[in-house]
Subunit: 115 residues, 2 copies
DNA sequence: TTGCCTACCTACTTATGGTAAGTTATAAGC
DNA sequence: GCTTATAACTTACCATAAGTAGGTAGGCAA
């Protein structure tokens, strides 16, 4: 009964799968959520997400930029300042991620238990 | 580089963060989505998710069981059969994950590019 | 007896994440 | 004019998670 299904199901929904693997990567959801409030500079994002390291923030921002969810703006100057904001595609995640937030409020205890 | 800001911001939204780290783990979204269609046996889930290994499926199912998103039912018999289904908490993810699916259909190309 | 089935488990390798320190260019403080 | 500070990274290294391969139990069919 098994090998029969596999091929037909490969395309069950590759877009959904790609989406969830993309926004489900560690810290990605938090980064996007911070940017819902408006464009932020690198160190602002870093400060708003407890636990993330600068290395990983760089990595996640690069991925989100490549996915066209986040846009990057550089202001050349004394210390270079870089601002990150959401694209239309990124802002459109407010619905989905908001739903996840409401689900979490319905079902998860206020004091987070250890994963 | 140290972070001095961290403590003040810890309670931004721990439940949202926990939710996205939980359902965002690799394959978790796919497993839950398969179970939206109804309870399935171990090998059925395995066959429906191309790319996942049995080891990881076991691991994810254990985590989802612990999180009370998935329930496990054993039918003792000739070869032991185990059926996995969603709890109320798990079924309630249909809204959030559906939203993600629709977002993916709006924004991601039909032919998935490699992650 | 040999092999097959389900639902795993164990050992091992590779990829990803976490931690700490270094870089570049400018500017402020002493 | 020399140290120190800042922003946004980069590099190096170690730990954890994911991927791969093979094994296990107990019944059953050939």
């Amino acid at each position: 009964m098994e090998s029969k299904h596999q091929d037909e199901i490969v395309q069950l929904c590759p877009r959904y799968h790609r989406a969830i693997e993309l926004i489900g990567r560690r810290w990605t959801g938090a980064v996007i959520r911070v940017l819902f409030a408006g464009p932020r500079r690198f160190n602002e994002i870093l400060a708003r997400i407890p636990g993330i390291s600068d290395r990983l923030l760089t990595e996640r921002l690069r991925e989100l930029e490549q996915a066209e969810i986040v846009s990057r703006a550089v202001e050349t100057g004394s210390p270079v300042r870089v601002t990150y904001g959401l694209t239309a595609m990124g802002r459109d995640l407010e619905g989905p991620l908001g739903e996840i937030g409401r689900w979490a409020e319905r079902w998860l205890p206020a004091e987070a238990t250890a994963l």
